[in-house]
Symmetry: C2
Subunit: 94 residues, 2 copies
DNA sequence: TGGTTATTTGGTATAATAGCCAAATAATAA
DNA sequence: TTATTATTTGGCTATTATACCAAATAACCA
């Protein structure tokens, strides 16, 4: 049980283990978004969205880029989408 | 943001978001195991292993079958393996 | 420069999770 | 029936995660 690998993998699963963050990833699968777009669609505080984004960023799932006063986020770990899709198929079977 | 779907998906990611549980899933990818086999390899209490297994079971990732006095667990959500593999590739790139 | 907008950071209260121990259950053996 | 083995469950404490508010930063505009 090589600890370091499991620790890093766990960080990725933890980052994804929240409904708001899964929603963010789903949305980013269709293209980049700025922070305010998430705030508009989710009924949570700006600071809360920002913190969720930083969790995903620290895990290496998304990256950010500042353009003007806005910050845009992009999905880099694309295979999350295929797993997410597999889960949906799985849930429909039950 | 259809809440019920995100709630269920989150449950699956939460279930996977622990090093011990990732280890269990990895091991089950190679075939069924009984509880005691995990206890031997992991340095944690029997009750702790049992609780980790029930988290994975409640999420629908593994199933159990009692044979005699032992309980055997099997991996049913196989696509966890491919995602796990993708994460490893991803981590190696960095 | 001063004001406004977009975003992040720090503080804090609350909720969820993890791990151990002890006790309960369940199957089998003596 | 009693004892033994395998596993689960309940209770408790310590740690971690979440969400809000307020304050800080950073870019742009007047």
């Amino acid at each position: 049980m090589s600890n370091d690998l499991y620790r890093k993998k766990t960080q990725i699963f933890k980052a994804l283990a929240h409904p708001t963050r899964l929603f963010i990833v789903d949305k980013l699968a269709d293209g980049e978004c700025c922070v305010c777009e998430f705030v508009n669609e989710l009924d949570v505080d700006f600071s809360t969205v920002s913190k969720h984004l930083s969790v995903l960023k620290n895990a290496g799932i998304i990256i950010d880029e500042k353009r003007g006063q806005q910050v845009f986020y992009r999905l880099v770990m694309r295979c999350v989408c295929s797993f997410s899709h597999c889960i949906e198929t799985f849930l429909n079977k039950e």
